[in-house]
Symmetry: D2
């Protein structure tokens, strides 16, 4: 059994045709798992629906609380990409004994050409086999929480260049 914590991010944004802006209504994660014919038992819990640029320390503490409180030891978190790495660092300090995989999307699932479905399949899979620790699953790869950064200009996750 996996726990899937929804926190928002581009993943779940929708287009409001009256205002012409993007907003959150509800998560698409359940629908995406049905579309993927996922039969792994997943307990979905919407913790918040936030653009990750607006996520506060208190929000991250809430996410950590939910990770600790849930009975599952394998957790997927959907999260905005902009501060995914910051949240991963907070979780790594507080939750040493569970496998936590953060993922997100560059394009809203509702816009049809999203990377979200690919990333969700990837995160669900990594969460079943990686050891305890906090990981980011993006761009088909998995990254340890302390060996990843978002290249915002390119919109991709990379391993930071290290000094020799």
């Amino acid at each position: 059994m996996l726990r899937l914590l929804v926190t928002g991010g581009t993943f779940d944004k929708e287009y409001d045709e009256i205002s012409g802006t993007l907003f959150f209504k509800d998560t698409h994660v359940g629908e995406m798992l049905r579309l993927g014919r996922c039969l792994v038992p997943v307990a979905i819990e919407t913790v918040m629906l936030l653009d990750s640029l607006q996520m506060t320390d208190a929000d991250r503490a809430t996410i950590a609380d939910r990770c600790r409180a849930c009975p599952e030891t394998r957790i997927v978190i959907t999260h905005g990409t902009d501060t995914m790495v910051e949240t991963a660092a907070v979780l790594a300090l507080r939750i040493p004994d569970k496998t936590i995989v953060l993922t997100g999307a560059m394009v809203p699932y509702a816009f049809g050409s999203s990377d979200g479905l690919f990333n969700l399949g990837s995160a669900i899979s990594f969460a079943q086999v990686l050891p305890a620790g906090v990981w980011v699953a993006m761009n088909g790869s998995y990254f340890a929480w302390d060996d990843v950064q978002k290249d915002r200009a390119a919109g991709v996750f990379i391993r930071p260049t290290r000094p020799a």
Copy 2:
């Protein structure tokens, strides 16, 4: 670096609007990896484009040859679901020292609501972390080659019931 061997299956079927039937034109795997913003290096090789019900022993031997011949030790194979388990068994006998993950789809990717993108994200991920052996990645799970069967009535992969 992963090797991705394309063998056909529902994954890559398309609709021929002149005849009103399904056919193979070319694989969509490269487009799907771009859509998923996959940055894991993947060498894509189209071995055949077959409905897996029409796959022969000779075809399976060809697939095994390609698995053995390629330099990569981690391989994803896209395959029709109907005989995916048979091919997995052939590969398990012949390729003991590589991680091989077979995946497929119940709905063609070209039909928009496919499980294929989810499964591809899943297979690419499992292939990076599972040990040597032959695996089936379907329905969000991974199955050892000798502990899986397709429930054709339900259209899903399950672990067979074993006698005590």
Copy 3:
């Protein structure tokens, strides 16, 4: 008020993921009109769900009966493209005093990249402004029932070449 008679055709075909074949489950026309934000009152009536190659004289008589019996004088008919012209000819002989527009699709709406939504918008529009008579609305054009044929090799509707 328009009447929309559903008779089947590629328009409404779906993919059966268990058998891997195309079949009819229900019409998508209501969903398509909602997607198009159509506010023209349309009374939708499913007369049959047939591949038009299997349509018989009795089926065409049934369609004609429904055209005559309904109170509306402006009618759209969704129909398989293969025998759309034959049905148009039957209707032209029997229903002289209503505006009847037949339309269809080359790709099932459910497959995402369909011409069906475009054609439905076109047919609904022509039906509101063309005079009494039987018309085919395909490929963005309108054709009089006796000045149209399907070019099956190209999958398009054309005006037949006439001898001088």
Copy 4:
């Protein structure tokens, strides 16, 4: 032969995955006509790519100039919905002798569930059969330029209530 003047609007907006905002890159009208298998000859001309709330009197004068200058007497204009009616009024004063049909979309075509394809089929059709004048084709209907307004709260076009 129809002329199709592109002016922007929601129709052609896209999602910028780096900034998370909507922007214009290029028109999708040509792709949409191909998807609709439209065989009516259409000369596509991109006049501007603007959110219609930012359209100035000078922009409207430019659109009118293009309507007058082009050889075709039947014209479709894609336009943002917010000021479509204002542009229609300007054109009605300046172009008395051509059939001009304005259309738009509530959801970007690139977001997959757009009304744009339906509306384009509708506008292309009305443009072929309506008499000279300026018309708005939205919600499956056609409206004379002086008998239409956008209900911004509902996101639909209606005929204004007239005093008796």
